[in-house]
């Protein structure tokens, strides 16, 4: 497999689908959707192959591809995966594939929609497989534009208009990336001085980071924390998340909550922490505090919601609080938990949003007081909803329990009482998740919804794909953790080495 550029192929498959779609007449909606499905399926199949043929015992970077690109800046087309990026890549593909089917009923300009969707998926994947900072940023910026267009054209207005939502989402992403860019460029300039020449590859930059003074690391990390933190909806930079998801079309909510948000967490681990261990050490307690604040605050806010998408929006803020808490606990178990929880939350949030999307499509409302008793009329939809809700409240046997448990172990060990407040979030989560489920699915069925058709055919794909992932990850957590651990251990070893040296300097 050494010769075949499998990662590039994974990246290019949706792009190829997008290119093909441009040549299909706009009337051929079905064909367009099929092409999109095939493109994302190829990516998903290949990433599954990569996931299961990755040698976790060996660890490190595998499936690497490196082609020098811009010599003066030390940029190269450097793609590689390790135990941290591979779960994210797989997650992107699972969700991307499901998202195509979740938007199977899009009839308004389907061609443009699916082209943008494919580009969006590619952009997100790119950030995860890039092992070169420049490529990472490039893909990161690629992501922003389709999101904006998708939201303002195909979105829906409720509490806020879709234009407001799209604007908020995009501007937040851009503000975050602006700070990030400053941090990254400053770091790059300093690293070029240390390395004696520009080199954008993660490995080289991490080496350079070793020799950076604690002061530099601290302020650089602060910039990155702000950038990645607002992307991962760290409290108090979270308010784009509920509004954005509420405004966005189903597929975008799925991808955004499912994976795009995870770029923030991924970046914090794989870039900020990896490059700037001393800075991370300094900021870790603050991250933990913000994480706990996010968990509790967003869980309470979710409890007060009546719009399904807002509930999930706040819930994802709350779950990302756990990720922040995990990173803040600054040990290898925490990093394991953070990455695994991002995967778990991705699957769960995507299933949630796809289900809500279908409910909205069929009943034309997301307003909980207008819903009720759907379990009778649309049982399969109810199963999907309950699966997602139960995963959200961390039910054992579904994917999110073990990651949360891991995070709790890591955080409880380090922060004690603070962690307890965070862990108390599981009660609130159960409250709002079950309340939403109960009021939407159970209770007396409403006559106006008697004619509703349950999900079937292509609409089942998100439930099947994501539901399988939910259950498989819950019953066999080692599928996920062997992989994550093989990435987290070398990372934290590096970090601890730097901390030792840093102590001397």
């Amino acid at each position: 497999m050494s010769g075949f550029p499998v990662l590039t192929t994974i990246l290019l498959a949706p792009v190829a689908a997008a290119v093909i779609m441009t040549f299909i007449p706009r009337e051929e909606g079905k064909l367009i959707k099929c092409v999109a499905a095939v493109g994302t399926f190829v990516s998903m199949a290949l990433s599954l192959y990569v996931y299961f043929s990755y040698d976790t015992a060996l660890g490190g970077l595998q499936f690497a591809e490196k082609i020098p690109w811009i010599k003066d800046l030390g940029v190269s087309w450097f793609l590689a995966v390790d135990g941290i990026s591979l779960p994210m890549l797989l997650l992107t593909n699972l969700i991307g594939f499901s998202a195509v089917f979740a938007s199977w009923n899009v009839d308004n300009r389907p061609r443009e929609f699916f082209i943008l969707l494919c580009l969006l998926i590619t952009g997100v994947m790119g950030t995860f497989v890039a092992h070169d900072l420049f490529i990472f940023l490039l893909f990161y910026e690629v992501v922003v534009i389709p999101i904006y267009i998708l939201v303002i054209i195909w979105g829906s207005s409720k509490r806020v208009s879709k234009e407001y939502a799209g604007m908020k989402l995009t501007i937040y992403l851009l503000i975050g990336s602006a700070f990030l860019l400053v941090g990254i460029i400053a770091f790059f300039v300093k690293s070029a001085g240390i390395l004696g020449g520009p080199d954008m590859s993660f490995t080289a930059l991490a080496e350079a980071g070793k020799q950076l003074s604690a002061f530099d690391q601290t302020w650089l990390f602060a910039l990155m924390l702000f950038g990645f933190g607002s992307l991962v909806s760290m409290w108090p930079f979270h308010s784009w998340s509920p509004d954005g998801y509420a405004g966005a079309p189903t597929a975008v909510s799925m991808i955004h909550a499912g994976v795009l948000k995870k770029i923030g967490g991924y970046g914090l681990v794989k870039i900020a922490l990896y490059f700037l261990p001393l800075g991370a050490k300094f900021w870790a307690p603050y991250m933990a505090v913000l994480g706990v604040a996010g968990v509790t605050y967003a869980a309470f806010a979710a409890l007060a919601q009546k719009d399904l998408k807002y509930i999930v929006g706040y819930s994802s803020v709350s779950h990302m609080g756990y990720v922040m808490l995990a990173i803040g606990s600054f040990n290898v178990i925490g990093i394991n938990g953070a990455v695994a929880n991002m995967f778990a939350h991705g699957v769960m949030a995507a299933l949630f949003f796809s289900t809500i999307g279908f409910i909205y499509e069929k009943t034309h409302t997301r307003w909980i007081p207008d819903l009720g008793g759907l379990a009778r009329q649309t049982p399969r939809l109810a199963v999907a909803f309950m699966l997602a809700a139960l995963a959200s409240l961390g039910l054992p046997g579904l994917i999110s329990f073990i990651p949360e448990f891991t995070i709790f172990i890591a955080a409880f060990k380090v922060y004690g009482g603070l962690a307890v407040i965070g862990i108390a979030g599981i009660i609130l989560t159960a409250l709002y998740a079950l309340r939403a489920g109960a009021n939407t699915l159970f209770g007396p069925p409403r006559e106006d919804y008697d004619h509703l058709k349950d999900i079937r055919g292509p609409e089942m794909v998100p439930l099947v794909v994501l539901g399988t992932a939910l259950v498989a990850g819950g019953i066999l957590p080692s599928l996920l953790f062997d992989m994550v651990n093989s990435g987290a251990v070398p990372l934290m070893t590096h970090v601890e080495n730097v901390l030792k040296i840093g102590g001397v300097m």
Binding site: S239, Y297, A304, L393, I427, S478, A488
Partner: protein, 639 residues
């Protein structure tokens, strides 16, 4: 065969799980087939469990050293979690009991659920429930136990909310899950602490490490951990103050009530404490807490049960009370007595729930005991088995309840907890009274003309008879004269209490007194005038008891005021402060500064040219009259 069963005990939970999968994915459209798959899975698993239990109970080495099979579930640097099977007399007994009672209940359910649109779904839930419960029973690891614990909670959520179109069922299910969740929060914290402090959650390893915990931690921390762990059982086993969900759980179909209340779920808490006795016995204060909680709950729940009218609610409070007994026994350090009561209680309480179900089935779900009467003539099998259950729970020898209750009273007396002993004795009296109040009102007395009861079909009465037999003789395994039970199920070393005839006779007298009182008030007195007079006389206490001491209302109020209040507060804060002031504020500042700067954009060419030349002048002046270094600095070092 026995060997095979013992080494493959993992099949016991797996078979019902398999039934669940088969029903969900394959046989759902065919009701009979689904029921068959479910029952077959359970019965098969019962066979294996019986064989395995036989293997355990014929070899004394397992009392000292449990048979453990474990595999790594997941691992990472610094955290390894196993899953496995741990067979010792306690788990073997439990496994046997759960599968046996479970099988009978499942058979019963095939009749009870007849005609329900969710027939197949119901049996899939039952299978999942059984699988989870059995997983809990055989767990060799506390995290695995917690997983099963939560899954059991999920199944009870699904089963209680089975008639989900009814608002009350939906709310009861939610209440059950969330109340347990609050408790599980404590349990989870306890488990986390155990993992962090001792580095393992495997029961056998923990037992070893905790026996000399001084190496790892201090007494204070260990006490805290123990109390946290105990929070879980408080919720799941419906102990005060988290008992509120249990009576509401009656919204589910009756087999569910039987399954949840009698055989399985609610005793999971007792079982967990039993499994972690090595932890509790190290912390005397925690033991006291367990004992007091149990004793108080027993009395407290009994005092509520006395005034309730709905048949299943009376049974529910009686369950709470009986589990209080078990906790009390555990707190006194007598694993033997506790497990013994768990064992007998499973039979007679399952029996009584199923009888109640049979009655409800016949009366089309009319639940108020005051509206029943004389049913025993129309429904002889149900009626007489009900009476057997009543005798067993009241503690009339030689029925099962007598022996186990006696064991608990004895334990309380022997350890010198006289207050608790008195509470337990009082509870025994009250239990006999309210149980027989229910029986007299429902089964005896005058028939009500508006009711048209009929005996239930064979697949419902057969389990009743089976359970009645078990309730009658189940206690004989542990009589003071043939202490088979006491030799197998114990913590530390077997405990042989000398039979205390005083207590024995005293408890029988109390029970008989209770039954007699109920008889005089509710059976002999056709007009029930004295009962009403009593009620009027102690109106205050009656109201308090009838309204369950208003605890539900208090919780509801607390929830509405504080939790929802906080939720609204946070949400408003989010909308008006985080979003309103900060986020939109920044946006507004941007927009306002734009508005301000817009004035400079006159749109007139000559204005622009003027400014342009001013700029040129400024740059030229800077470049011309400052040294080259400043200019270079301003232009970014361009040479």
């Amino acid at each position: 065969m026995v060997e095979f069963a013992m080494h493959n005990a993992w099949l016991v939970p797996l078979l019902p799980a398999l039934s669940f999968v088969i029903i969900v994915f394959l046989t759902k459209p065919w009701k009979r087939l689904s029921a068959l798959v479910c029952v077959a899975g359970m019965v098969l698993s019962c066979v294996i469990a019986t064989l395995a239990a036989y293997g355990v109970f014929t070899n004394h080495e397992f009392t000292e050293k449990p048979l453990v099979y474990a595999v790594r579930w997941f691992s990472m640097a610094g955290l390894n979690i196993d899953v496995g099977v741990q067979l010792d007399p306690v788990s073997a007994m439990m496994m046997f009991m759960v599968t046996l009672v479970g099988s009978l209940i499942f058979i019963y359910a095939t009749g009870y659920m007849e005609g329900d649109p969710g027939y197949s779904v119901f049996f899939s839930y039952l299978s999942l429930f059984a699988a989870s419960m059995l997983l809990l029973v055989i767990s060799s690891n506390l995290l695995q136990m917690f997983v099963a614990w939560e899954l059991v909670g999920l199944c009870s959520y699904l089963l209680i909310g089975f008639y989900s179109h009814k608002i009350s069922a939906r709310e009861a299910a939610k209440k059950a899950f969330i109340t347990c969740r609050v408790a599980d929060f404590g349990l989870l914290l306890g488990l986390l602490s155990l993992q962090i402090v001792f580095g393992t959650l495997n029961l056998t390893e923990l037992a070893e490490k905790i026996s000399n915990f001084g190496q790892y931690t201090s007494m204070g921390i260990l006490t805290l951990i123990t109390v946290l762990v105990f929070l879980g059982p408080i919720g799941k086993s419906g102990q005060f103050p988290l008992h509120v969900w249990l009576p509401d759980a009656m919204e589910g179909p009756t087999p569910v009530s039987a399954l949840i209340h009698a055989a399985t779920m609610v005793v999971a808490g007792v079982y967990l404490v039993g499994r972690t006795m090595f932890l509790f016995t190290e912390v005397p204060s925690a033991m006291e807490l367990v004992a007091v909680t149990g004793g108080f709950t027993a009395l407290f729940a009994a005092s509520i049960a006395i005034t309730q009218r709905e048949i299943k609610r009376i049974l529910a409070y009686s369950t709470v009370s009986q589990i209080g007994y078990m906790m009390l026994a555990l707190g006194l350090g007598s694993l033997t007595a506790s497990m013994f009561h768990l064992w007998t209680h499973a039979f007679f309480k399952a029996l009584m729930f199923l009888c109640a179900g049979s009655v409800l089935h016949a009366l089309h779900h009319k639940a108020d005991v005051w509206e029943m009467g004389g049913l025993i003539k129309k429904m002889p099998i149900t009626g007489w088995t009900f009476v057997v259950g009543g005798l067993a729970i009241a503690g009339i020898p030689p029925f099962a309840g007598f022996w186990s209750k006696d064991e608990i009273l004895l334990a309380a007396f022997d350890t010198g907890h006289y207050v608790l002993f008195t509470m337990a004795a009082l509870t025994a009296f009250m239990t006999a009274f309210y149980m027989w109040r229910m029986i007299f009102l429902a089964l005896f007395g005058d028939e009500k003309p508006e009711n048209h009861p009929h005996e239930s079909p064979w697949n419902m009465t057969l389990p009743l008879i089976g359970l009645a037999v078990l309730s009658a003789v189940g206690g004989l395994v542990g009589t003071p004269w043939a202490p088979f039970w006491q030799e197998w199920i114990f913590f530390g070393h077997p405990h042989h209490a000398e039979p205390n005839y005083l207590i024995m006779i005293g408890s029988v007298v109390l029970a008989a007194a209770g039954i007699y009182l109920a008889y005089t008030l509710y059976c002999a007195d056709k007009t029930k005038a004295r009962a009403h007079a009593l009620k009027e006389r102690y109106k205050f206490f009656w109201t308090l008891s009838y309204n369950k001491y208003y605890i539900d209302e208090i919780y509801l109020w607390f929830n509405h005021t504080f939790i929802d209040g906080a939720a609204r507060l946070f949400y408003l804060f989010d909308i008006y402060v985080v979003d309103g002031i900060i986020v939109n504020g920044i946006a507004a500042i941007t927009r306002l500064s734009g508005e301000g700067l817009r004035v400079t954009q006159t749109g007139r060419l000559q204005n622009y040219a003027l400014v342009f030349f001013l700029g040129v002048l400024a740059v030229a002046v800077v470049l011309a009259f400052t040294g080259p270094s400043v200019a270079a600095g301003l232009t970014g070092g361009v040479k």
